[in-house]
Symmetry: C2
Subunit: 220 residues, 2 copies
DNA sequence: GCCCGGACTGAACACACGTTTAGCATGTTG
DNA sequence: CAACATGCTAAACGTGTGTTCAGTCCGGGC
């Protein structure tokens, strides 16, 4: 908010239509600092246009948000953003490319997930359905253990995956990593170990919970 | 924001000092809708006082936030909020009591964790240290599996636990639960199974990742 | 009684910001 | 050429909101 007026006019391709530049600028700023903290003038500055032009094209700041979100919803439908749940990882290079390309959208969606925005619900529901069928397919193929609570398991695992994106800044900080990709790579092995062997050495802890009360929680 | 002026003046104990009522009202509203979206007048209404009195006691809206956060930091130091990472669960009744008592603070801190607020870093660092020593103690006691990446594992598990709080609204929605405690109880068993047996039936998936590249990620 | 300081209020101020208005180019159509 | 639409801007307007001002009430010390 301080030197918002002096925001650099990033014009990677100055020939693109002003309307597109405005929408990109809005996505970037909304994702970075949030909708309310972003001023129409800051969006205009970043897109290299005047403030009234923003409203000329989108009617209002709220209309601009809706346009941004509609664009995101189509991308959600196309199955992008699956990487938010923990990288599917072809290789590090493509991870970096993906992270860079979708960083603004990811920031926006991360924000939308923790507030109760329509687009956040949309994304979560999609990822949840994906997780359900993915886990079921793994079960059918004999790769994933069966469970008596498929919905709860899918949701819990989805949350665990999303958390690595939502809390990426903290992850980088405590692990001393320089960027998100590095941090994601660092937690890969321990997560694979967790998913393969579990965390406990035996069933004593689970037994303790199941005898104490018929259903219970867990620890870090 | 609509009928913010008609916010009910919740006065559970009208004898408490105005200063305390103001701080409570601020914590509640900041946690509910965020700092920027909360007006000084709304805080004053909720506390049953006038807007200038808020500033008389705390200097400015920003000063009020700092006062709120200082109060939270002392509570963090006292080790409250450990339940954010997945309930330690004495029993359902105390879970509900705890959830109710700390709901406003939890909302505030959940928000602080996903933005990059000072108090959020403070909380995360504390929980991370707790997780590290907790897991190490479990290892020493022979209950937790050893790992070659204790920091990364602790951070990843901490995130997974926190996610259940950060994404509680989505969890409730997709599982059709009525409140957070119910949802937490629902994911307890699958998480215990995950921690006890793992998710995969054998090590094929991990092997595939370790042969493909020396370090890699995961799926929902 | 008098004074002083602190809690407290209604009214007003100042600024930020979304939005509106009026107008200027430029290109296209009749 | 006239008429008009389109993309765009500078300037101004109106409102919401943090903050300040001036003053009231009240309790305690002298």
């Amino acid at each position: 908010m301080l030197n918002m007026s002096s925001a650099q006019v990033v014009d990677p391709s100055p020939d693109r239509t002003a309307r597109a530049r405005i929408r990109d600028a809005a996505l970037h700023l909304f994702g970075e600092v949030g909708f309310r903290a972003t001023t129409v003038r800051a969006i205009a500055d970043r897109a290299g246009v005047s403030a009234p032009l923003v409203l000329h094209h989108f009617g209002s700041k709220e209309g601009l948000r809706q346009s941004v979100e509609e664009h995101l919803v189509t991308q959600i439908r196309e199955g992008k953003f699956a990487t938010m749940t923990g990288q599917l990882t072809p290789d590090e290079l493509s991870m970096r490319a993906n992270a860079e390309e979708f960083a603004p959208a990811m920031s926006y969606l991360a924000r939308a997930l923790t507030e109760d925005a329509e687009v956040g619900r949309h994304l979560y529901d999609r990822l949840y359905q994906d997780a359900l069928v993915y886990l079921q397919a793994g079960e059918d193929a004999g790769l994933i253990r069966p469970t008596g609570h498929p919905e709860a398991r899918a949701a819990a695992l989805l949350n665990a995956g999303l958390a690595q994106t939502l809390l990426r800044h903290h992850l980088e900080r405590v692990l001393g990593m320089d960027d998100q990709v590095e941090a994601m790579l660092a937690i890969g092995p321990p997560l694979l170990d967790l998913y393969t062997d579990g965390l406990f050495t035996d069933s004593r802890i689970r037994d303790a919970f199941s005898t104490a009360s018929p259903s219970e929680g867990t620890q870090p």
